[in-house]
Amino acid sequence: MLDDATHEANYAMAVVTTSSGIDRGPPEPILVVDNIVKNFYTPDGVVRALDCVSLGVAPGEFVGVIGPSGCGKSTLFNIIGGLLDGFEGSVRVAGEAVRGPHPAIGMIFQEESTFPWRTVIDNVVFPLELAGLPKSERYDKARQFVRMVGLDGFERRYPSELSGGMRQRVSMARTLAAEPKILLMDEPFAALDEQTRLLLGDKVLAIQQQLQQTTLLITHNITEAVQLADRIFVMTYRPGKLKRMVKIDLPRPRTSEIVSSEAFGRYVAQIWSDLREEASRGLKDDETSRNRGGAS
């Protein structure tokens, strides 16, 4: 474990302001998000959701993007995943521009997304079925991923027979079975209780370590981001910009036990001090619009 003074120094070095919109990320990223601008046209006028967002993720790296509600995190997730178009800028995977869903990107959604009509194993086999693998081969492979997420013994169960955390692990196994180069997660544990969230974080860390999986996690949960990520980008409230990049210099392999360390607490406090201002703006904005709605 690093001592506190070393962490203090590392943290000071790790915090990089990104108000220029230029990423100070890795020199050869596999995922490049370059100068994304996204506007939504509403009856009340144009709403700028994302403003010149740029970041890069290196192979095998775990990057977190954190921001208050309404900062455009999910918009960014959908743009990187190819589910949303009509934006300025570009998303590139290994140099190739992403225009629509890309086979190198696997997505795990915030909402529960298992197929209720398929068993656990049939959910996980789904992408392998699409890939046209022979039946025995695809089931063998799917079983490996079911084991990896710790659901062996539940292969024949249906999602309705599982807990929320188990269902999210099924979704994760299904996405991993497609063997994406980049795993994109949008607040995958948002609906779970804190303890389950921490334990699933351990599972994610173990899998990421095992597969050396490049991962981009989008979240509003500071603890989760610090527990999992190598670097964290803090976003501003609307329009969403990258405000700061924080390098998390906590030792790996990590487990949820790290949340009790002083260094962990300092990272959380620092990110919260950045986020607090943005979250307050969001809250004020929300109250103003509700007042306006109530008055009219």
């Binding site: 190819g82 997505m107 197929f115 209720p116 789904f126 309705s160």
Partner: protein, 257 residues
């Protein structure tokens, strides 16, 4: 766990309770008719209905009539399912068509379509085709509307999962939208089949042609009330067969909800 809890949780308890309740209701009815609370000219004794069964089976050739009504119901069910689901899928994919016709289809579902039978008699003649087409017409709207409702209610995140795996529109439909909509489609099918069966037996009765509806017509004309009610029991049996098949099909297509 107490002995009473064990009995209540036993698999056989619920069906036994159901049959027991029906038997108790029949016994109460028998009692009320015998003591004169209910007029036996209006409703025959359940015991007389029971005694009428052998007569209806042997003398009225009920088996062939049952098979004819069941075949008509099955044919109408297949047509209703095929065209109803296809109609729902078409309306789901063509928004303009949906906006133009959905209200009309809902209105048709609530209309007393049995009144259209003279027109069908002119078109198809006094035969089984008229009866099947009446059943089909009556059952079509609920299946179409429920298919549309089920497809429209597919959760956005499941569609996004499909998109993230780069599914073609065809795959998106067969692998996600359709299985997701199946429970609602089956609700529509059950409704549609009820409407179809009511119309099939009703038209058999009205045009005095075909299976159990015609038999009920004849028995009523002869004031054979126990026989009439015995024949009605066979109509219920057709309904049970159709529902059993629907349930099997649903369990096969979507084992759990």
């Amino acid at each position: 766990m107490s002995a009473s809890d064990t009995i209540i949780k036993a698999r056989w308890f619920a069906p036994l309770l159901g049959f027991g309740s029906i038997a108790a209701a029949v016994l109460v009815l028998e009692l009320f008719i015998r003591i004169g609370v209910i007029n036996r000219i209006t409703i025959p004794l359940p015991s007389d209905i029971l005694l009428a069964f052998p007569r209806v089976i042997v003398e009225e050739d009920v088996l062939s009539r049952f098979l004819l009504t069941a075949t008509e119901a099955l044919t109408a069910s297949i047509l209703v399912t095929f065209f109803g689901v296809a109609g729902g899928v078409i309306l789901y994919h063509f928004r303009l068509l949906r906006a133009a016709t959905e209200t009309w289809i809902a209105a048709i579902a609530a209309a007393p379509l049995v009144l259209i039978y003279p027109l069908y008699l002119v078109i198809f003649g006094r035969n089984a085709s008229t009866i099947v087409m009446m059943g089909f017409t009556a059952g079509l709207a609920p299946v179409t509307l429920k298919t549309l409702e089920g497809l429209s209610a597919t959760r956005r995140v499941l569609i996004d999962v499909g998109r993230s795996f780069n599914l073609t529109p065809w795959q998106q439909f067969w692998k996600i939208s359709f299985p997701s909509a199946l429970p609602t489609i089956f609700v529509g099918m059950r409704l549609g089949l009820i409407f179809a069966l009511i119309n099939i037996v009703g038209v058999e009765y009205l045009i005095n042609f075909g299976g159990l509806g015609q038999l009920i017509n004849e028995l009523t004309d002869r004031f054979d009330l126990p026989g009439t009610y015995a024949a009605i029991c066979f109509v219920i049996l057709v309904s049970m067969c159709v529902f059993f098949l629907t349930e099997r099909l649903e369990r096969w297509l979507r084992p759990v909800e």
